[in-house]
Symmetry: C2
Subunit: 234 residues, 2 copies
């Protein structure tokens, strides 16, 4: 029997954007799949139902691999996929395995020569980079900055230093309710000539992508409290 | 008068894949735009015509910003966009401004507070990373490796070192006709336990994404001559 496939299924970054950001292959993959691995069961089910309105959620199996769940890779993944069933891996927002722990499941699949099919969808990281005007030929995403204040400043200085020395754009993010504090720390820590891009609400009608030097940002009052944002320096 | 917008318009990675990888927003943006900046005039026109079959190419203006062209940003870009016309920026393949010099045009747009709208489309870099099973929470793309053999080996060792020390996945590429030589050099240079992902023909029916340790790759004969490929180590 042929093995099933592991589809990596992107989800939307904000309500009501599915037609704008998801190509039709995603609907086809969902139609061919009856087992999904998601970060959160409730929102995972909603995502699937929104994209494929005809899906019978009651006969569809959902496994969670979020913060407080552990999936049994042998029982809940390998057994199904070796018996020919496709499995879909979803992130809470955007591309699975990017800025989330999904890659562990993909790595497990590679050990058993299972076909992994990544599907096209929205990545706030790359959309922000495209829109920033900063170097897209050499870039790094380092996730969340450390929470400890001193460590955080040290980290920002290190990222600024790498970008100055190598031209590599440095991309990072923050829990949305701490965005404003992060801006404050960035403006205090970085040198005036450093370029900072703040990319907020990517793909939403309120999308806002602005790149300015640190000294220019200091002249603006920016309030992006609780809005999903990607930060870039270069 | 309102300024025009700068749309960053993704293109397909291989023939015949437009329905699979491009969401409908791209068609809408092309309909609203009559000036395009492209890397190559001939293929740029073909891309636009393929996505919007009704577009009258004869009444559409194309500017080239490829290797051998220079665009006059004031005349060919600013004048149009300040007079309310939208401009579309296209790459030869995939996302504009990622692994191409388009970001210079976006940076120029930011100087004049022009709205930059990045659109969702295929990125071989991120699709390869998703499919690799390697760390997607910390990663860097560094473009092409140096051509000089010694420099190249030094660079590979440096990338391997960063990935070992920080867990940061290192992503890079090669001119397709030198792919096989690069594999040879990687297998000679990296340590046996390093994980190497070779992701070929992304989004095409022949797509192949495999992650193995260097010692496992040494036992396989891999021929990806002339096939577009992304390499990842982690």
């Amino acid at each position: 029997m042929d093995k099933g496939k592991l589809y990596l299924i992107p989800t939307i970054l904000g309500e009501g954007t599915q037609n704008a950001v998801l190509p039709s292959t995603i609907l086809e993959a969902i139609k061919e799949t009856n087992i999904f691995i998601v970060e959160n069961l409730r929102t995972g089910r909603r995502h699937i139902k929104k994209i494929d309105k005809e899906k019978n959620i009651d006969t569809t199996t959902f496994y969670a691999y979020g913060k407080y769940d552990t999936i049994n890779l042998e029982q809940d993944f390998l057994k199904h996929i070796l018996s020919g069933q496709n499995i879909g891996l979803l992130s809470e927002a955007g591309l699975p395995c990017i800025a989330d722990p999904g890659s562990e499941i993909v790595a497990y699949a590679h050990n058993f020569q299972i076909d992994v099919i990544p599907l096209v969808g929205p990545s706030s990281i790359l959309l922000a980079l495209m829109g920033s005007g900063l170097n897209g030929q050499n870039f790094a995403f380092t996730g969340y900055l450390p929470i400890d204040k001193l460590e955080r400043k040290k980290n920002i200085r290190k990222l600024e230093d790498i970008s100055k020395k190598t031209g590599q754009t440095q991309i990072f993010m923050e829990t949305p309710y701490r965005n404003n504090q992060l801006i404050e720390t960035l403006l205090k820590t970085c040198s005036n000539s450093t370029k900072l891009c703040i990319a907020t609400d990517i793909t939403l009608p309120t999308e806002n992508i602005k790149t300015k030097t640190v000294v220019e940002w200091k002249q603006t009052k920016t309030n992006i409290n609780k809005k999903p944002t990607i930060f870039l320096i270069g």
